[in-house]
């Protein structure tokens, strides 16, 4: 098999998600979600020719994951908005369909690998007609002059310029959860209580907000803060309940050691 499934190097977020769910059989609550979201972000970052549709799609899927995880972290709510609920199901189904499609082609890829391995063992005859037929062979060099050979050599040996990467639309998405975490640990103990709206007011990109939200969830999970929402659609209050000052390194993000 050409595909080594045990490799710890994942090819993007779908690959990682499929591995976690199908091979490790974890549910995403157990997973450090920031890892998957970071995988998304680095793919968006890598997009060599900018493709806003694809980038947006990736971010929406990342947002769905965040929402799914948030559901399981935040205290159960008794009043559930039906529209919101349906929308979440729809997004979840979309993500599921995506993973199924990705898995389908992964499996086809494996079948292609076996076909190619089998075909590689058979060698075609390529000797061509022998010299008795030489004078019949069309002269492919008709009209070619030494200068054309020279030009072809220059073409073949000139280094190809690196394609220019145009990322100004995406801006510098350098956001990752570890950085956001460090910022929060620096900021929250001083302010003690702040609304999520204020905490993210200076952020422009939706993805930065998602990342900061993930960092908050991580802190919540580790018991450093409480999250309160007094009314539906009201502001979410973030309350720091941890130590006055903690060294940044003290907060370990659950590292993925796949």
């Amino acid at each position: 098999m050409a595909v080594d499934v045990s490799t710890p190097v994942f090819e993007g977020p779908f690959d990682l998600l499929l591995h976690l769910i199908l091979k490790e059989q974890v549910d995403i609550y157990e997973v450090n979600l920031s890892l998957i979201v970071d995988a998304y972000l680095s793919e968006v970052d890598k997009m060599q020719s900018l493709d806003l549709d694809v980038a947006t799609e990736f971010l929406l899927i990342a947002a769905t994951l965040v929402e799914l995880k948030a559901r399981r972290l935040l205290p159960g709510r008794e009043d559930v908005d039906l529209d919101e609920e349906l929308a979440l199901w729809e997004e979840r189904d979309l993500l599921l369909a995506r993973l199924l499609e990705c898995k389908t082609f992964k499996d086809v890829g494996r079948v292609f690998g076996s076909l190619a391995d089998e075909a590689d063992r058979c060698f075609a005859r390529t000797a061509g007609p022998d010299e008795r037929f030489a004078e019949l062979m069309p002269d492919l060099l008709e009209g070619v002059r030494p200068k054309h050979v020279h030009a072809a050599y220059v073409r073949a040996t000139t280094p190809k310029p690196e394609p220019k990467v145009d990322l100004f639309h995406v801006g510098a998405i350098k956001a990752n959860v570890s950085d956001a975490l460090a910022e929060l640990v620096d900021e929250l103990p001083r302010v003690r209580r702040i609304t999520f709206r204020r905490l993210t007011a200076d952020l422009v990109d939706r993805i930065e907000i998602i990342v900061r939200f993930l960092a908050l969830l991580e802190l919540f999970k580790q018991g450093y803060l409480e999250i309160e929402q007094s009314e539906k659609f009201g502001d979410i209050d973030i309350v720091w309940i941890g130590e006055e000052r903690i060294p940044v390194g003290a907060i370990a993000i659950d590292d993925y050691e796949g």
């Binding site: 559901r71 159960g76 199924l100 292609f112 022998d130």
Partner: protein, 215 residues
């Protein structure tokens, strides 16, 4: 076992079968039935029948070579079991294997062609540019046109070299994609992995999932 009998079902001169063998021997790529039909002056279905009989005859006689239909034509090739000997002869014959990423991308292009890079990106969830460049430089895919819609994205398709790499005659010979859709067990596992907790679910009291999040 001899080629004289190979074309038995049709009253074809034995010399025609030998002429067929001669043409196939000098060919440097699979010869389409239409071309053989022109060269031999026989109807395409007769030629196709001759090729099949000849292939069967070689199989029964037990030769080290075989006649196969690949990439839209017939060609002679060595039988797989003699690869060790052939590789001893072809010192430079090492054949690069395709990576998992390349195979998956080929699978998508093969079944969805013509397809744009962004459609591939959204299926695989990764930027496909590097893999597309590799596959194109190895001749397995090529630009087959442009999307008529806005943006005029380059559309990709597979090449005859791809068919030869997989040893198949046509992409139509591939099994329907439905046969590869994951089974109920996989769907169920994904549903569990991505389940939406009901609103009245109790929040896990001690989210110590970190320990299991690793492996």
């Amino acid at each position: 076992m001899s080629p004289q009998n190979a074309g038995a079902p049709t009253p074809v001169d034995a010399d025609i079968v030998r002429a067929l063998e001669a043409v196939l021997l000098v060919a440097t790529e699979p010869v389409p039935v239409a071309l053989l039909s022109d060269i031999l002056g026989l109807a395409p279905d007769v030629v196709d029948g001759l090729c099949r009989s000849l292939a069967d005859a070689y199989g029964e006689a037990g030769h080290g070579f075989e006649l196969v239909q690949v990439a839209g034509g017939y060609r002679y090739q060595t039988r797989a079991e003699f690869a060790p000997y052939v590789e001893r002869y072809i010192l430079d014959g090492q054949r690069a294997r395709l990576s998992g990423a390349a195979l998956e991308t080929l699978a998508i292009v093969a079944y969805k062609q013509p397809i744009s890079r962004s459609q591939i990106a959204s299926i695989r969830g990764v930027d496909p540019d590097g893999v597309l460049r590799t596959l194109q430089s190895r001749g397995y895919i090529d630009q087959v046109g442009r999307d008529p819609g806005p943006g005029q994205a380059v559309m990709w398709g597979t090449t005859p070299a791809f068919l030869e790499k997989l040893g198949i005659n046509s992409v139509n010979d591939l099994p329907p994609i439905a046969e590869f859709v994951p089974g109920a067990d996989v769907v169920e596992a994904l549903e569990i992995g991505l389940r939406i907790p009901r609103a009245d679910d109790v929040t896990p009291s001690a989210p110590t999932g970190d320990a299991t999040g690793g492996e």
